[in-house]
């Protein structure tokens, strides 16, 4: 009754349609898993201050601030730290809260060669800042000061450079001034 050849073409189109849909389903799952990996990286990567030392050099009168940041990347994507910025504050006691008038100095930069944090790993970034500011001396009590460190890192996901994030860190504690 009908032209059998033309009826066969419709069947071929139907089978091809289903095959393309199966391939597309794989693409949808791949996109979803990629998005999940990126989201996991953005929410799990963290930064913390593991060490903060202040050294006073009597010969030059300078104060050197050595900061050690620990970057933890438990995700399965590599991240690249491309910027670090922080402010240093010093207080004579803990009662000042976040008083910005006790600002000492600002540190910026990233140590060369230590910018990429591999997946599922932890790395350390060292930031060294030297200042001749005398304002810190007003906040030293018995060779120590209540120091505050507040800043952020900017990182990007290596495989997806368009994805960036800013992560904040802070440190507030008594720090002994080392004399050198």
């Amino acid at each position: 009754m009908l032209d059998k050849n033309k009826y066969g073409i419709v069947d071929i189109i139907g089978v091809t349609f289903v095959v393309v849909a199966i391939i597309s389903a794989g693409g949808i799952y791949y996109t979803a898993s990629t998005y999940s990996d990126i989201s996991n990286t953005l929410t799990s990567a963290s930064v913390g201050v593991t060490e903060f030392n202040i050294t006073h050099y009597e010969d030059t009168g300078t104060y050197e601030f050595l900061t050690t940041l620990m970057i933890n990347n438990p995700s399965n994507l590599d991240i690249n730290i491309y910027s670090v910025e922080f402010n240093i504050y010093a207080y004579p006691s803990e009662s000042f809260g976040l008083d910005l008038s006790h600002y000492i100095a600002t540190g910026r930069g990233i140590q060369a060669g230590n910018s990429t944090i591999s997946k599922e790993s932890t790395s350390y970034i060292y930031q060294r800042l030297t200042t001749t500011s005398n304002s810190i001396e007003d906040n030293i009590i018995n060779g120590a000061t209540f120091a505050g460190l507040s800043g952020f890192i900017l990182y990007e996901i290596v495989d997806y450079p368009e994805v960036t994030k800013k992560v904040y860190f802070g440190y507030w504690n008594w720090v002994t001034i080392h004399e050198s």
Binding site: L2, I13, S24, T31
Partner: protein, 185 residues
Amino acid sequence: MSRDSYIPWKIKLIIWSISGGIIVAFFIGMNIMSWATSFNPGGTMIFISPLVCGFILGILTWEFEISHTVFGTILLTITATIGIIFVLLSPKIFGVAEFIEGYYLYVIQNIILTVVLTFPVSLLGAIVGKFLTGTAILSPQLKAERAFIRAETEQWYQMLEEYIEAKEASGAPLPFRRNEEDAEK
């Protein structure tokens, strides 16, 4: 739908509709997530993919009723929407991250966009595909048979009208009931 087939026509319709929805979801999802994937089909594919998938669905359902084709496009739209929801909520589905409240508004916006884009465009494509396929695939013999049946039906209706007029002219009651007026009589 009376031709022999291992798969019932209803199952075929559902499979084809879901397949079309998955393909549409793939292209729209790729466009939304273009920043996270290396394959970017371009913004125009969010219009072209439902149109082409609807057209193919119309080709596949050329011998079905038009209502079945419309049902197919509705199922296609629903499937595409589910696919988009899966992509956008995948971090929560996979349990790797939680969303801020504002993100759900973004998801709803994309769902509305998917529905508004997919359903009318795919329906248009399906109707056009069904019409073109019906015109192209119907063999000349079948067309001639349909024309003969149509002419024979018209001839029967004309004979019936002439019979009714003759009965009314002679005043004899009709042996059947044409409408409510005859029932009251």
